[in-house]
Subunit: 133 residues, 4 copies
């Protein structure tokens, strides 16, 4: 599976020396924007960072530490809605071990209208082509 | 239900003017530590901020904005394991509306051993007394 | 001196167990907005959180830790410009010891014009009345 | 001048669409650790991320936005103390424009002793060789 790489920052660590669990959502968000924009086999949406997150389920499988210089994140499309996308997301540490298993539901956003927006036909075709069979 | 109040910071806002979705985990974490320590009817564990988060399911129901000066967070015990606790968590905005519904699984941590630790008998009695019937 | 109190969060700690030095700017910013809005003897500007920071000088005098449940921040006006304000800011820990000495220059911001804005006459009178003699 | 590149994250933006001013310290810190460890002509200290920040002076010259995919940070040694280092730091946006001018004083840290530590002879020779003439 193609993956997006996100470098870690020292500030991502918490007092335990682990990447803080809340930072996983920041790292996922950053990688997801790249993937939605076309990186790592993503669909290439027209405004890939303009979405809101409606739901996240995340299992923290192992700790990320400073030894991991970054995290590898892969995406699989599970379901396409009118304005939303359900994704399976996998986070791996620098050595390839699984650090988190995630399911996220995102909703495309229209900044001007301050509300959700539907996929256009071209975008819909691109994301539907990626639905895991 | 008793609730812990957490004030928001301007920096919690993202470019959309909403509290960033990843910050919800920070706010939950902060309130959970207070509650585990005995605030808002919590059990009063002996080291209430020393746990790791194993799993989070979160539904983002409505946006938190700067109008909300803070968030009210309530906790219900769903299940007690040997070293872990499953909690139902509800986040409400300044006006009382629901902003997120959460289920979290946390594991008690032993900083010195860098591993999980079981509840002691007294702690177990306290958390079991809180299991929702 | 009147002071604004800002509670700390566990996430403010870094791997050393100190409040991360970059978070001091977040804490200052949060307190400054309250003070500009009229808290702790502040001037009561009409849009107290809409400014940009042009310069900061900060001496980190002692570490903030989790023992400090929050930080006390006091403000003194050093100089009033057409669109800017130079402030002396002092941060104190929970026990009253000094943790940082700061000088900040801020510039009033106009979100719509995306540029600086001058003080209006009423605001100017209020901030000039606070200039330290 | 050699420079360290730090990629930005969407979460670095604030409500104004600018990288939040407090995040500049995180970006500087991250780049400084790499440089101290030997990147971009840095001295190659033995424990390059284990220091505390004693003082920062920062002029925010222009805004960083999402158009800037990252920031370029260059370092010049101004002064070497027994346990401390004074650095001139320059931040540039994606297009090379200056975004901040900084002077930082850092102190080498000993995690075990929880106190400052002096440069060893080898480290001292390396940093003194970098003092700007």
């Amino acid at each position: 599976m193609d993956e997006v790489f996100e470098p870690l920052r020292w500030r991502d660590l918490d007092y335990f020396g682990h990447v803080y669990h809340g930072e996983y959502l920041t790292l996922l968000d950053e990688a997801r924007g790249s993937w939605l924009g076309g990186a790592a086999g993503g669909p290439g949406l027209r405004d890939p960072e303009t979405y809101v997150v409606a739901r996240v389920e995340i299992d923290f499988v192992s700790s990320l530490t400073r030894e991991d210089r970054g995290v590898h994140i892969g995406f699989v499309v599970e379901r396409v809605g009118r304005t939303s996308l359900t994704l399976r997301e996998t986070m791996r540490g620098g050595d390839g071990r699984e650090v988190a298993r995630v399911r996220s539901v995102i909703v495309l956003w229209d900044r001007v209208a301050a509300g959700s927006r539907p996929f256009d036909d071209d975008e819909r075709a691109r994301v539907e082509a990626l639905v895991a069979s």
